[in-house]
Amino acid sequence: MRVNPNFVPDIENALNQSQAELNTALEDVATGKSVNQPSDNPIASAALVQNQIETADVDQYTQNVSSASSQVEAASSALSNVVSLLTKAVADGTQGANGTTSASGLQSLVQDVQDVMTSVVSQANATFQGTFLFGGTDTANTPFTPNGSGTGYTYNGNEGQNSVSIGDNQTIQVNMPGDQIFDNSSASVLGALTGLVTALQTAATASQGGGTVSAADTQAISTATSNVNSALNVVSQQQEFYGNVDSQLSSQTTFLQQETVSLTSQQNTLEGVNLAQAATNLTQAETDNSAALAAAAKVMPNSLLNFLSNPT
């Protein structure tokens, strides 16, 4: 059979192919990615779109968890302060109710509890990054301000609760409206403190100038103190809410870290290049290319003419 005498197209084709393989191998090694455009691997490209979105989301969830966690810790620490302030007020109240405290002693107790009151209100109005911790979702109004009559405090916040996204379709409530903590219907912190101040004030006024404190007055102090104690229990309970949220957030942090690792590993699997494999492919492609070139150089100049003697 006659063979195709024109092997140039075959040689060109072989050279083209080995050059293309060399380019691919080189690109794989240089970029470290095997998917540089959708046609390289359509399925992986589609999965990478999701992976990209998911990765960005998980990054943001992680940031959300961290900022939620700071907010919750700030709230929790404010409530801890309130608990110790209230404990102090209870001690003051107990002292005031023992019936032996002098007029000046009672007066300084009044002052003490008033200071506690001011501190508690300032904790109740605490802010985190410019947002009130205990104002519900209201960001404009200071949660607790003295009421018009000067006898107590008004709650200006709302009952809104914000839930922060910390995972796909997963949110966590990070705040509690301030009135549920400080003006709870079962035991109001601010109400109880106001009551204690009033009771101590009454006793102090009665004992002024050598007067005596009536049993009823003492009883009133005792009742007010026990109200403060109940309010303290309420605050402690609410503090648990923040403790729970905080522990959920830290377990979510662990989950998100694992998620990040698995997304990164998925991304690697989808578009990453096995470097050892890629380097081997590159060497292989280089060898193929050199072989094709060497073969072309060897075969192309050959013809019968090389072996004929010149006509004399």
Partner: protein
């Protein structure tokens, strides 16, 4: 019995034949690298025998013709494969351009979706932060722009293919005219009993070029003239007459191909640059565009529904986030309707709306949740569009290399039949050189014998 004159005649005929054969050989060598050239083989014929005095003697040799070695069937197969390859190559090169629109580069729809999604997540943590609100609005604008850019990229690829259609049609018309002229020359040669030779080579070469432009069917009549029609049977060349295709702007704004009888054959054209460009323009890109438009509409509708279900930072009911045009392309025209970050419906309640984030989850869900009517979420929808585009591009290039292999095998086969082998021609050259030398020796020998005969009986000879 023939005399010396007969031998002299036979010798000079042999000289002519060898000379003709050497011509063919040198022409073969000269055209060894000419595209479309088919080698010519000298056809020697024995001369009529002589019967003289009861003895039959040979009548010498004559060079009856030079025959080109070609295989029409192979040529037709090559033409078909050339059309198929040229079609997928046209599509492949357009798809290579298109797929860059869907490659993750920070400006694509995928990156914009990702940015919007994480901006919303951030907003859920700091609903009253002006910068978080602005981030959502900017991400929305980026997404709308990504949709616009992608849609415009697809449309311009479509216009480029449309331009290719009219250009290709005018090239086809030029080629068919030339083929018709060559056809009549081949017909004349055939009528004279000669091989079409180089004229036929030229015509076959033009037919190969034509098959690169569009799929054709070629049949050869007994007089050597080609009849060429498009795949669906519209005539392009019949004998020495060519039939021009025309283009006219169709109702869809694109060039339609009209055959010589006035029929619109656009949708029936297959193969070649023309077939590939029409396929890309009328099927592939419209498919991508309609998916993209559906995606833009789905995004706009879902996001607007979530937005109008909530309340903005001033406590007012949420307004539409995106403007989605209902006429024209949704993807090309989608834009952000909101003018201020405070208009984002972050809250689910009207009272105390400024710091509440109740509606952010609904906005996020608009991206990730599949519509209740069925189908997939915006994110999944985009990801499957990326698959579609990548798959089309990858298939086209796989197909191209598969057809390339077939074509190469066919071309090799054609080369083995029709190609000029320098080795073979060199051997022939030596063969015909020897034949020429031998014939020349016959002539000189006869001449010597003639002289000897003349000198017979003369004293000088002895």
């Amino acid at each position: 019995m023939g005399g010396l004159t007969t031998s002299l005649f036979i010798g000079s005929q042999a000289l002519e034949a060898a000379e003709g054969a050497l011509n063919a050989t040198s022409n073969n060598i000269a055209n060894a690298n000419t595209p479309g050239y088919t080698r010519e083989v000298p056809q020697f014929t024995e001369g009529a025998e002589n019967l003289t005095d009861g003895v039959v003697t040979g009548g010498g040799v004559s060079l009856s013709s030079l025959q080109s070695i070609r295989d029409e069937l192979l040529n037709n197969q090559i033409a078909q494969q050339t059309s198929a390859q040229s079609s997928v190559d046209t599509q492949s090169s357009s798809l290579q351009n298109i797929q860059t629109l869907f490659t993750s580069n920070g400006e694509d729809i995928g990156s914009a979706l990702s940015t919007l999604s994480s901006a919303l997540t951030q907003l859920s943590a700091s609903p009253s932060s002006g910068s978080a609100q602005q981030a959502v609005l900017s991400a929305g604008q980026q997404l709308a722009q990504a949709f616009n850019t992608t849609a415009n990229g697809l449309t311009s690829a479509q216009s480029a293919a449309d331009g290719q259609v009219s250009e290709t049609v005018s090239q086809i018309n030029t080629l068919t005219q030339q083929i018709a002229q060559l056809n009549s020359q081949v017909g004349q040669l055939t009528a004279q009993g000669q091989d079409g030779g180089t004229v036929e080579d030229q015509r076959d070469q033009l037919v190969q070029q034509l098959s690169q432009l569009t799929g054709v069917q070629v049949s050869q009549s007994s007089n050597g003239e080609d009849t060429i029609t498009t795949g669906n049977g519209s005539p392009l060349v019949v004998g020495n007459q060519s039939f021009a295709l025309q283009t006219t702007t169709g109702t869809n704004g694109f060039q339609q191909v009209i055959d010589s009888s006035g029929n619109n054959i656009t949708s029936q054209i297959q193969g070649g640059t023309l077939g590939g460009a029409i396929q890309i323009r009328d099927t592939t890109i419209p498919g991508f565009l309609s998916s993209l438009n559906a995606l833009a509409t789905q995004l706009g509708t879902a996001f607007n529904a979530a937005q109008t279900g909530g309340f903005d930072s001033t406590g007012a009911a949420g307004q539409d986030f995106f403007n989605v045009p209902t006429t024209g392309g949704a993807a090309a025209g989608i834009s952000v309707a909101l003018t201020s970050p405070s208009q984002i419906a972050i809250s689910s309640t009207a009272t105390g709306a400024s710091g509440s984030n109740g509606n952010v989850a609904n906005l996020s869900a608009a991206l990730t949740t599949a519509p209740t009517a069925g189908g997939s979420s915006v994110e999944n929808g985009y990801s499957s569009l990326v698959f579609q585009v990548g798959n089309a591009a990858s298939n086209a290039s796989t197909e191209s290399s598969a057809i390339g292999d077939t074509l190469q095998a066919l071309t090799n086969q054609q080369g083995s039949e029709s190609g000029v082998s320098i080795d073979e021609e060199t051997s022939n050259m030596i063969k015909f050189q020897t034949a020429y030398e031998a014939a020349a020796r016959i002539v000189s020998t006869i001449q010597q014998l003639d002289t000897d005969t003349m000198d017979m009986g003369s004293s000088q000879s002895f």
